[in-house]
């Protein structure tokens, strides 16, 4: 048994010395390609191939309505950059990302800090904050359509009770995106909350205890001990959140179909509208690759920032 120790070298390096193979075995054993194939086949078929196919389609005038497809070069891309609807829907996506990401990180942090402070009723708090995350998007939008109902919805009833004018939550162009962002914060903050809670629970308590012994008060220790220790977590949560927010589509599509007057239509809904309602698959692909490029740029920028943090 002991003669085989070299075989136990950590696998990630991947280069276990062949010479150490036990006598009588012709070659070093290990899981073969067959282990990977059941994943690799659907991976190539349903991910790699569509990515390539989509890129190709973006260079054609492919359409759901026409059978003939011809190569058009970069025409679709040229059209996309001159298309005011691309720019306005991109603007909506960026606006949504800004107004949803900030509260999604900050509220999650406040929730986690409060729950972590050890007040009784842990499971009640976790349940209230996390359960919305488990709801299908349609359930969330059904509930919030009712809350935002203009005449007897809870939102306007509350405003009325405070003596304020009713608001067109989903019908007022200047309000609708904020309403969508509020729904999104309610729906998904629970995930970030759990990430923060897990981070808090894994922090060493020694610094906190030392600061307490030195007479630092609760606020002081929060600002100078706990929050600095959460820095990496915050960067991570913010990175994931920005990428998730950029991909917004489902809740907006069900809630407002992008309205009123296109004021909530995100870029990905424009892709959907052009491709499946307007039948222009080639152009829709081009717009979605512009979006993909944006996602890659944001990811790489974030990665650089993250590395600098270390």
């Amino acid at each position: 048994m002991t003669t085989t120790t070299p075989l136990g070298a950590p696998a990630p390096a991947g280069e276990r010395p062949l010479a150490a193979a036990p006598p009588g075995r012709s070659r070093r054993r290990g899981p073969g390609l067959l282990f990977v194939l059941p994943f690799a086949v659907p991976f190539v078929l349903f991910l790699v191939w569509p990515v390539v196919q989509g890129l190709w389609m973006s260079l054609t005038d492919s359409s759901l309505a026409l059978r003939d497809t011809s190569f058009v070069g970069f025409d679709n891309y040229a059209e996309a950059f001159g298309d005011p609807d691309v720019w306005s829907s991109l603007g909506n996506t960026v606006f949504f990302t800004a107004v949803s990401s900030v509260p999604l990180v900050l509220v999650a942090l406040v929730m986690a800090l409060l729950v972590h402070s050890g007040l009784a009723g842990q499971w009640v708090w976790r349940l209230s904050f996390f359960v919305p995350y488990l709801l299908p998007v349609t359930v969330v939008t059904l509930i919030w359509t009712w809350l935002y109902q203009p005449d007897v919805g809870l939102g306007n009833e509350l405003l009325g009770a405070l003596g304020l004018e009713p608001v067109g939550w989903l019908s007022d162009e200047s309000v609708a995106m904020w309403s969508v962002a509020a729904l999104t914060v309610w729906w998904t903050v629970g995930f970030n909350f759990l990430l923060y809670l897990a981070a808090l629970q894994s922090l060493p308590t020694t610094y906190d205890e030392a600061a307490a012994l030195d007479g630092a008060g609760a606020w002081r220790r929060l600002w100078s001990v706990t929050l600095p220790q959460l820095r990496r977590t915050t960067v991570l949560v913010a990175m994931l959140q920005i990428l998730a927010s950029l991909k917004v589509f489902d809740q907006i599509y069900i809630l407002t179909k992008g309205g009123p007057n296109g004021s909530t239509r995100p870029l990905l809904e424009y892709v959907y509208d052009v491709g499946f309602t307007g039948y222009r698959l080639g152009y829709a692909s081009a717009v979605s690759y512009v979006f993909f490029a944006l996602v890659i740029v944001v990811s790489l920028a974030q990665l650089r920032l993250f590395r600098q943090e270390d």
Binding site: L134, I143, V152, A198, A218, T226
Partner: protein
């Protein structure tokens, strides 16, 4: 238990497992009261939409449309639920959701675990390239694939089939990545010992590796299931037949048909929400720790 004389006795220390830090609030009474108040207000804000929906679903449509802040404006009735269940769609869609999410989870976890183990321990050619492509694929937004995937399904004549709903969802590069990282971290001695004893590679995987990996496999399963249960865009695009729709898709198609029937809308929403909420109540601890284990992998 600490015996420090503080005004709020039993709240001083939570039971060990909740792992709160009593230090965070210090010994004063004020921070404790403030924190408790803030927590209560936040939880209330998060629960009110639910409670409001529950109250609405338990009244008649006429009572629901009366103005006023009171959650109950009339008599209690289950008629909204009766009407929803009579129509039958919701139950059918729930069954479809269970079928789809269950199969997606089963297949995804099986092929991802095998592949991750292969990537972690294998020495076959092309392993590094394939792994690198898999890691890069994590960046691809699923929405990017929708148009070409739909074309592909048209070509294969698979539109409006369970296969079309399920198959593209079983590719989860992030889960392969998470599992590989886990396998990389466990030592290979046990496996090599089993190999020396003549166990086949499949046997080694099944009897040695899998038992060691239960927590991570459970975590990945939970996330894949939640994701598949809630997935909207792809099933929405590839199914037109109401008999094949999953809950999120089916409800979206009838959302506008509810019109002003908010009691029924809320009843159907709550019925659709029920399964995962029950799952959460049953596996709360496991789900919470899953988020911590898989961290990046959640959404």
């Amino acid at each position: 238990m600490s015996t420090t004389a503080t005004p709020v006795r039993t709240r001083r220390r939570p039971p060990r497992d909740s792992a709160g830090s009593p230090l965070l609030l210090g010994h004063g009474r004020l921070p404790r009261v403030l924190a408790g108040t803030a927590l209560t207000v936040l939880a209330a804000v998060w629960l009110v939409p639910f409670l409001w929906a529950v109250a609405t679903s338990l009244q008649s449509e006429q009572d629901v449309s009366k103005p006023g802040l009171s959650p109950f404006k009339g008599a209690f009735t289950l008629s909204a639920y009766e009407q929803i269940l009579e129509r039958g769609n919701v139950l059918l869609w729930a069954a479809n959701s269970f079928l789809v999410a269950g199969l997606v989870t089963l297949i995804t976890v099986a092929i991802s675990t095998l592949a991750a183990y292969g990537f972690s321990r294998g020495t076959f050619r092309g392993r590094r390239v394939l792994m690198a492509v898999t890691v890069a694929a994590v960046m691809v937004p699923p929405q990017l694939l929708v148009v070409p995937l739909f074309e592909q399904m048209l070509t294969f004549n698979l539109v409006d089939t369970y296969a079309a709903v399920i198959l593209p969802q079983v590719v989860a590069p992030m889960m392969v990545f998470i599992l590989k990282r886990f396998f990389d971290g466990i030592p290979g001695e046990l496996e090599d010992a089993a190999r020396l004893d003549g166990a086949s590679e499949v046997r080694v995987f099944w009897s040695v590796v899998l038992p060691l990996s239960r927590p991570i496999v459970a975590a990945v399963s939970i996330f894949v299931f939640i994701g598949a249960w809630n997935n909207f865009l792809w099933p929405f695009i590839v199914t037109n037949d109401p008999g094949l729709m999953t809950l999120p898709v089916g409800l979206a198609t009838v959302k506008d048909a509810f019109g002003i029937q908010y009691a029924q809308a809320m009843a159907s929403a709550l019925l659709a929400a029920l399964p995962l909420v029950v799952v959460f109540l049953l596996f709360q601890r496991r789900i919470v720790s899953s988020v911590a284990t898989t961290g990046l992998g959640g959404s």
